[in-house]
């Protein structure tokens, strides 16, 4: 443990130590009059002026200490190094801690979950595994823990045999990690079927875009033939519902084709921000799409650009939805291409064999976070102040009365 000062110039306040010294040099006892009837047996002998003497030594000492502590507080002292060196064991939330305790002798260690905030294993509830989309990635948690712990604290990580939410790279840490793989009971086999279902699309069009509607309807019919098992197949009319632009948007449908030139109305924008996916007309004015990524291209160049807008997505066609401008409209794969535009982007692969994901050693060590001493110093100052007041008031009040 080392003490250091964040603002050493604050020690200049130590010059204030002169004040109590001067105060105690002043001979105030000669100013007070003592009633003394036996005066005729007393000799006059004034205190010699040459000899400088401090009066009330204890009070002077407390005052000096008080000022020194205040100056130290201004200098912002911090303490490096943590006295607690007990080893840590972190357990991935999908692993049963009882199983982990069977393979690891960690009685002296502190047991924590490998989750946000690193809650203790025995105290906290098991962190929910399901909230996968919001929780930080596995490697990110490892790096945070590595940065948080003191340099030489031993770390044991208990992971399931298959890790979900891994990065593309093996994590690189500052310390050697005891990497224990425990067979896990439940690996969530999430099958994302939504991307393979036929999208339900509502179309809102301006009157001069009516020529494009037949290609969209054709795509809807094609989807009906391609995804016969989809639950929406029972009502083919609902697959692509066409209405003029003045009709209100359906809040339940997630996909929209907006064939209206000009800026987006506020209602449509709100609907997209709330989580919808919109395919916009080529003349739609959306500032967010100025340099957006190309999501669909053919030999003639980019066909559509897409970007996120709030919780939803917008995709704008680069050309008019007419065979003259877009020859691909007449190709057999147009329905599939259109379906791909509406489908959610595939998540990045995040599942890895735990043995292959053992962290490497060699990251640059993190700067240690010092602990501020200000609260303790403030408590000390308060105590010193109370003592000083008691010393200064008590005897003087008694002698004055």
């Amino acid at each position: 443990m080392t003490l250091s000062l964040l603002l050493p110039i604050g020690l200049a306040a130590l010059a204030a130590l002169l004040l109590p010294l001067l105060v105690h040099l002043a001979r105030r006892s000669e100013e007070r009059v003592i009633v003394f009837a036996a005066l005729r047996w007393l000799q006059a002998a004034p205190q010699p002026r040459r000899k400088r003497r401090f009066e009330e030594h204890l009070l002077l000492l407390v005052r000096l200490l008080l000022l020194a502590a205040l100056a130290l507080l201004l200098a912002e002292p911090v303490l490096f190094g943590k006295p607690d060196r007990s080893p840590w064991v972190v357990v991935a939330p999908v692993v049963d801690p009882a199983a982990a305790r069977r393979v690891i002798d960690g009685r002296l260690a502190q047991w924590h979950w490998l989750a946000q905030g690193f809650p203790a294993v025995d105290a906290a509830e098991r962190p929910s595994v399901a909230a996968a989309s919001t929780k930080p990635s596995f490697a990110s948690l490892l790096r945070e823990l590595d940065a948080m712990l003191p340099v030489d604290t031993p770390l044991t990580v208990v992971v399931p045999d298959v890790i979900d939410g891994a990065d593309a790279e093996r994590p690189m840490l500052t310390r050697r990690v005891d990497w224990r793989v425990v067979p896990s009971t439940s690996v969530s086999a999430r099958v994302d079927a939504a991307n393979h279902a036929a999208p339900a699309v509502m179309v809102r069009y301006a009157p001069d875009r009516a020529a494009s509607l037949r290609y969209l309807r054709a795509a809807g019919v094609a989807w009906q033939a391609t995804f016969p098992s989809s639950p929406a197949a029972a009502s083919p009319a609902s697959r692509v519902s066409v209405a003029p632009a003045s009709q209100a948007l359906d809040a339940r449908t997630r996909n929209l084709v907006w064939l209206v030139p000009g800026p987006l109305p506020a209602a449509v924008r709100d609907w997209i921000v709330a989580g919808g996916t919109a395919l916009l007309d080529a003349q739609a004015a959306v500032p967010e799409l100025a340099n957006a990524a190309v999501v669909w291209r053919d030999d003639g160049g980019p066909l559509a650009r897409g970007a996120r807008l709030g919780r939803g997505r917008i995709v704008r066609l680069e050309r008019d939805l007419l065979p003259a401008a877009m020859p691909g409209l007449l190709e057999a794969d147009f329905p599939a291409q259109l379906q791909r535009l509406f489908a959610d982007p595939m998540p990045a692969p995040g599942r890895v064999n735990a043995m292959a994901y053992a962290p490497r050693v060699g990251a640059a060590p993190y700067a240690e976070t010092p602990r501020p001493l200000a609260p303790w110093l403030a408590a000390l100052i308060a105590a010193l102040f109370i003592i000083e007041r008691w010393l200064a008031d008590g005897p003087r009040r008694r002698s004055a009365s």
Partner: protein, 301 residues
């Protein structure tokens, strides 16, 4: 004798009051005057304690004649016994400004407070013995007298007078003290409660003693006068003259303590030469200690 709670409870702390039980006011000279009391008196007469035989004189009561002695000697003798009489006690309290001095270590306990408490103790003792007592407060150039009397009402009157005493001014000259001689008769017990720093105090005591009053003197001293616990420079002021003196506590302590002790010894020997019993009382001592020194030794003899 049931006594209502009075102001005396303010003067005497309970533990001191408990220790007063075995104390007794005792006069060295026979001083009783009239009535029946606890003190030996000069007058002979009917009583319990045999004193002497004397020859029969016309006018003596026949029942006082010792008939057995008549049978042996064929002459009339009269048995005489000592009469025990009550005592007159006068309390002289110095209320000059120097009596207001106390100690910094115990504020609110001045010489005058101690004198009041001692006076209240003496009044309690006198009341218990049936003695008569009176109070004379001398200070601020005046003499205040509460006349002599006995009983609880006199006690309350004296305590009320004690309550009102304030220490100011200087010791009066002798002409102002002349009324005192009209009140304090011969063969009375006079207790002086004073710091005796004024020359008038020992002189009055000497004159009273010379005029056949039995005088007891209690000199009240503060702890600071005994120990002189001052460090560094201080400004000392005499409360009566107003003189001020700047002095360094550490350098003058030894000289002061020695000179002050010599002055006290000189005072004690001067008073002893006049037959005055003299004790010192320092303010941190128990309140009954001076009374014990004055009366207890006599009680054993």
């Amino acid at each position: 004798m049931p006594s209502p709670p009075t102001a005396s409870t303010d003067f005497i702390p309970p533990h001191v009051r408990a220790r007063l039980k075995d104390l007794q006011l005792i006069a060295r000279q026979a001083a009783g005057v009239q009535g029946f009391g606890l003190h030996r008196s000069a007058s002979r007469g009917a009583g319990l304690e045999f004193s002497q035989y004397r020859a029969y004189e016309p006018g003596d009561e026949l029942r006082q004649v010792d008939w057995k002695l008549y049978a042996r000697s064929d002459r009339f003798f009269v048995r005489e016994a000592e009469r025990d009489s009550p005592l007159d006690v006068w309390l002289l309290i110095d209320t000059t400004a120097s009596m207001s001095q106390g100690d910094a270590a115990r504020p609110g306990w001045s010489r005058l407070d101690a004198a009041k408490a001692l006076a209240a103790c003496l009044i309690e003792l006198a009341l218990r013995q049936g003695d008569r007592f009176g109070l004379a407060a001398i200070g601020n150039g005046k003499l205040r007298i509460t006349g002599i009397g006995a009983g609880p009402r006199q006690r309350d009157r004296c305590l009320l007078e004690l309550q009102g005493l304030v220490a100011t001014g200087a010791w009066p000259d002798e002409t102002r003290l002349r009324p005192l001689w009209e009140y304090v008769g011969a063969r009375t017990l006079v207790v002086s409660l004073s710091d005796a720093f004024d020359e008038g105090v020992p002189r009055l005591a000497e004159r009273l003693a010379a005029a056949r009053r039995e005088v007891l003197s209690v000199q009240l001293l503060t702890v600071e006068e005994r120990d002189f616990p001052f460090h560094g420079g201080h400004r000392f002021r005499d409360p009566e003259t107003g003189d001020e003196l700047l002095s360094d506590g550490d350098s003058v302590r030894e000289g002061f303590v020695a000179r002050f002790a010599a002055a006290r010894a000189a005072l004690a020997s001067r008073l002893a030469a006049s037959g005055i019993r003299h004790v010192e009382y320092v303010l941190d001592e128990p309140l009954d200690l001076p009374l014990r020194r004055l009366f207890k030794a006599k009680a054993g003899a």
